[in-house]
Amino acid sequence: MAKVTLENVSKFYGNVEAVKKINLEIKDKEFLVLVGPSGCGKSSSLRMIAGLEEIDEGIIKIGDQTVNELEPRERNVSMVFQNYALYPHMTVEENLGFSLKIAAQEKKEIEERVEEAAEILDITEFLQRKPSQLSGGQRQRVAMGRAIVRRPDVFLFDEPLSNLDAKLRNQMRTEIKRLHQKVSTTIVYVTHDQVEAMTLADRIVIMKDGIIEQIGSPLDLFERPATKFVATFIGSPSMNMINATIINENNQLIMKTDDGIFVPVPQDKINSVKDGQKISFGFRAEDIVPLRFGQKPNNHWDMKSKVNLAEPLGTETLIFTNFGSVEIVSRMFTPEQVNSNENLDFSLNLDRTYLFDDETGMAI
């Protein structure tokens, strides 16, 4: 039962400012995912909430209590570490019950809660084993079990799945989602994998270089990226991005790419750009349609281009082609054969084309 509030929180390592005055309010029972590239300050933020790292500036509150000066053990949070951090000299059962033993709970109570957690995570049969006798996925589950046994106010996850192989990762991802529904506790989850972020989160916080770029629901971020960075970070494959300049051609504003290709400015953006402005325009793979296999969008701009490479993935095919000198990717949903070097007509959906100011990186 707790929300978590970060007010102007900063973290310094010597001269390096790893986290720069971030503000964030995590609602009670919310599943919040912190995502961003390596070194952007995700772990530092999480560890400050846990109390493992000094808070150099600002205030962190759990519930209504300011926790800046509290030891980790006084914060009633659980943390799941990237490399599990199990106690190697204890059996799984002892690992699970350790926090309760420290809290001087009764033996029977400990047993019950360990059993309950073991059942939720399906590790009952391993209770008597040592961590070294478990596989990666099983260890990960023990680490999660250890976290839920305590019934904390807040769960903190630091890239808990990054040491697992792809298949196990998908499976555990689903399990974490299910776990959240079962225990419904506030969760702060750190990852650098945007797919994990999209699938798990109620809300996503995108960080870069110690600052928050955008906070929003997965769909929000996908549909309305606030910055160029968010646009390219969220979504797979990454959004296509073309550099261009706004020019005035016969009294009409138009985008001229660095390769000299002219593309009309989308209708709704026409009043927000000015002559000479350096911009990037971006569009997702599904918004540039290979005409032979798809439908022409309402507002469109057409081009002809040669297929560099086609990647059939079953339900969809990714077509790599050139936009001037920039390689872009187009996605089509019809299972038809496309050959390399084939010439195709593409149609760009101007209604779903995003514009970003090159100077500020902000969406236009």
């Binding site: 053990r73 659980s78 951090a85 190697p88 000299h89 350790f98 250890r146």
Partner: protein, 295 residues
Amino acid sequence: MKKFLNGPWVLILPTIIVLTCVVFLPLLISLWTSFTPFKLTKPDTLYRFVGFRNYERLIGDYDFWVAFGRTVLFLTIALNLELVFGLGIALLINKITYAQKTLRTLMMFPMMFSPILVGFQWKYIFNDNIGLLNNFLREFGVINPIPWLVDATLANISIMAAEIWSSTSVFAILLLAGLMGIPKDPIEAAKVDGCNSWQVFKNITLPFLMPFIFIAMTIRSLDVARAYDIVQMMTGGGPAKRTELLWTLISRTGYVDAKMGMANAMSYISIFLSIAFTFFFFYKLMEARKILSYD
């Protein structure tokens, strides 16, 4: 023959020869002498076999068993105190971030002294007339000089102090290495799991440190006989055998009284003491490693 020359035996032959000359032969000869009344002054006694007579005499020898008991007590107390002090120093040095390397080097200074020098130095400190300690105490009004190296209890304590001073750093360094090798994650996990500093130490740090403690104990129980130099310098086992340890007793029996046969019999008995200590700690080491599932 050709096959022999190309085989692995040829390669380890030098080692075997050297080991035979410097280890196995002396061992065998000393074992033989322990069954003779060999006196250095009468060389032909070396060939008179008397069976277990030396050992039988030793079993009834009060002085020998007092020295034996004192040695066991000395080892137990000294090793344990060295462990406690070494652990304390290691924990403190592990905590500081500033000038850690300098301190680590400083800490090794006692190891650079030969035990003889340590004995001299402490003899000088504890001397009842001109010693540093009594001089120092006089400043605080202790007029009657304390007989540090004469009184039975005090002399044993003094020797122990010298021994602990010279060997605590062995523990400190090995344990510091252990501490620095402990992964950070389980400790952080324990903090989040609700442990205070003492609980973290007891439940996480100590189990991780156990193998290092037993390695240090094993090493120390192997080389602890070097304390002979210290005792020999400070008191020579006296006065009146009050600080007699097995090692001083054996060397006196062998070289002063020239009873080599008897001295070697004593050595063989005391070797079992050493082996017992070593085995015990080695066994504990294996167990501690198993608990951490290293093997």
